[in-house]
Amino acid sequence: MSTTRAAPPSPRSAPERGTGGSGADERRLTWRNRLYRFDMRYMPYLMIAPFFLLFAVFGLFPLLFNGVVSLRNYELDDPTLPYWAGFDNFARLAGDEDFWNALYNTFGIFLLSSLPQLLLALVLASLLNRRLRAQTWWRVGILLPYVTPIVASTMVFSVFFSRDFGMANWLLGPFGGGDAPIDWRADKLHSWIAVATMVNWKWIGYNALLYLAAMQSIPRDVYEAAAIDGAGPWKQLWRITVPMIQPVVVFTVVLSTIGGLQLFTEPMLFDLNAQAATGGPNGEWQTIAQLIYKVGWKDLNLGYAAAMSWALFLIILVVAGINTWLTSRLSGGRK
């Protein structure tokens, strides 16, 4: 019954009314009919409504309200300012070197994390797609970092990358670092690598599992044919696997773009003086999300922070769009 589309009501109800015996029965039938129609027509909407309601309350409303606040003077420690600021907050963004520095950092860390992350995930997935001993163990194992609470893992990494007693320096010791230990928090490159490592560690397994799921739907005979034609595993990966799981690749690229540009917890807790939210003494690894938090809750300028949030929203839209386009061009295969 649920598979039939809602039929035009009149021809159906007419014969029923004809065959019906008493008036009461007739009414029951039409009531039932109405229910049936309601079920068919509106039930799907009702059932997806909770998501949209939640989205409206926790997604759309904050977004719009943020837009309103971004046009206001909303400084908690200075209530004397005029209510509306117009586009002053946005104009200020253009000349704010902190903002551009944070944007630069965000993209730097994004590149250092997303690219290796997705490539390694791809390689890992194709390895896991072969016949292995203890297959399930491996597959669940790579998901473990994803399950680890982000704060806990970041705390551990923070100690791992510490200057004086850190494991990272200890491991690098034999490779000529000897004379002076690396201060991972002193310059952009080292701090970016440290933060990107945390991101990669967490998300490689998750992406690999998504790729693996997609790979399992690729028919075996394609690979067999390719093997007969002399294509090695590497060529098979790039010429067959990647084009055939392209939708999933696009999905992970969009997801990691959004996640990468909103990076907050890792850079926040990597800082020894985390409460300042400056991402290093000279903002070496301060991301946009961190700067928004600092401007809003440390400098108490909510209007300006809202303007930054909106700018970030627009930037994510543009970058995700570009990445989608690029990925589908690069991994398309068929033109």
Partner: protein, 427 residues
């Protein structure tokens, strides 16, 4: 037809569950403060760590059967941020909210969101307090007092007697205090120490900068809210850079893993320490018992940290909350708290009380902490804290950290500090 009914029922069930979830998420908790019907009021107190209130709560509730007190301890930063968010939201704050010195300026700037305690008669308590403590939560125009002080940190110099002895320095606390009447002398002692032992003397540059700045007549901002870097900040900054150039700093960041390890490993030999730091040292490095002692801080006085109790205007029981607040800051209760958790009261008259004056700390070689810290707290001159004091301090501290980690040349540091401070003043 039966199938359609069960299908329908299932759909309704799913929809209902979905809607309930929405309702549950958007539902506001309606736990108000006043149980008007029964005549009892519930007062919620938000604070961090241990304020030593547990026994006082029992006592107060016994004396006031109509009052129930709810103690809510949380993490230091989280409590302050929570209070700030509730103030913006307009509801949900506690009836009595503790704030720390470090956040006093931020909340003082929003004095319209707090009950003016002067309206409640707190003005009569002013003479009992250390003048600078009273001023810290007083609004810029002096007409609104948002909080009453509980404890102060004071500031002294904790030092490792074993490390001092190894470096050939005196270990007796009076002799050590005599070593460094000024910060210049302090840095000289540091150079001696480092020269002899090849180990670092102080923990960090910022923990030198802040106490020195606190001793100046004028801090970052004048009372007219003008940033004035050439006065106090310059003095403090120059000493700090001098110390960094003398290479006596272990370049650590307070309350971080490496810093905590430094207590046991002897990464530094002295540490500017307020009264509440003693507990931290004891907890972090229990193995160093008896190896610490406490001397005076160079330059005469100082303070680091200390709390206030405020009443947010959104409280539904302002009168009852004030009654409790006034009771809590009375001498008997403040002495109770000192005995319980060691928080030093901010009312100088209490320093003569035997419970405080005769108190010695066994972990620190029986140092008479009940004498040392009050003296330091009283030696401090009140300093005006500008509205942007917090962000300015953070930016200048960051410049010091850049000099420490070698990414900024010492001779370019002051210009950079001025630039960063100006940026913060306009933030």
């Amino acid at each position: 037809m039966r199938r359609s009914w069960s299908h329908w029922a299932r759909a309704v069930a799913v929809g209902a569950v979905g809607l309930t979830m929405v309702a549950a998420c958007s539902g506001r908790s309606t736990t108000g403060g006043d149980d008007a019907g029964s005549g009892t009021v519930t007062l919620k107190i938000n604070f961090w760590g241990d304020f030593g209130l547990q026994d006082l709560k029992t006592k107060y509730e016994a004396e006031h059967p109509n009052v129930k007190i709810q103690l809510n301890s949380g993490e230091y930063n989280a409590q302050h941020e929570d209070l700030q968010k509730k103030l913006v939201a307009g509801s949900g704050a506690a009836d009595i909210a503790a704030i720390d010195e470090g956040y006093a300026v931020q909340f003082r700037g929003q004095s319209d969101k707090f009950v003016n305690l002067l309206d409640k008669g707190a003005g009569s308590l002013e003479s009992k307090y250390l003048p600078w403590k009273w001023k810290q939560t007083l609004s810029a125009d002096g007409k609104t007092q948002i909080g009453l002080g509980t404890d102060v940190g004071g500031l002294a110099m904790c030092y490792r007697t074993d490390l001092f002895a190894a470096a050939g320095l005196p270990t007796d606390r009076d002799q050590v205090s005599a070593l460094w009447p000024t910060w210049d002398k302090f840095i000289e002692v540091g150079q001696q120490y480092t020269g002899k032992t090849k180990k670092k003397f102080i923990d960090s540059g910022t923990n030198l900068f802040n106490p020195i700045l606190g001793q100046q007549q004028v801090g970052f901002y004048t009372e007219q809210e003008q940033l004035q870097m050439d006065g106090g900040p310059k003095v403090a900054f120059d000493y700090t850079v001098k110390a960094l150039q003398a290479d006596i700093s272990a370049k650590l960041v307070s309350f971080q893993a490496d810093w905590d390890k430094g207590f046991t490993s002897g990464a530094f030999a002295v540490l500017a320490c307020p009264a509440w730091m003693l507990g931290h040292i004891k907890e972090t490095a229990p193995g160093t018992e008896g190896k610490w002692d406490i001397a005076a801080v160079p330059g005469g006085g100082g303070n680091w940290g200390g709390s206030f109790l405020t009443i947010p205007k959104q409280s539904k029981n302002v009168d009852e909350a004030y009654k409790l607040l006034e009771w809590l800051v009375q001498p008997e209760q403040q002495i109770e708290i000192f005995k319980k958790v060691g928080n030093l009261p901010s009312q100088p008259a209490l320093y003569a009380d035997p419970a405080i004056a005769e108190f010695k700390n066994p972990f620190f070689n029986d140092a008479p902490v009940g004498q040392i810290f009050p003296k330091m707290a009283q030696g401090l001159t009140p300093q005006y804290q500008g509205k942007k004091n917090g962000p300015t301090r953070v930016n200048v501290e960051n410049v010091i950290r850049r000099v420490e980690n070698g990414t900024l040349k010492p001779d370019a540091a002051w210009a950079e500090a001025v630039k960063e401070a100006e940026k913060a003043s306009k933030s």
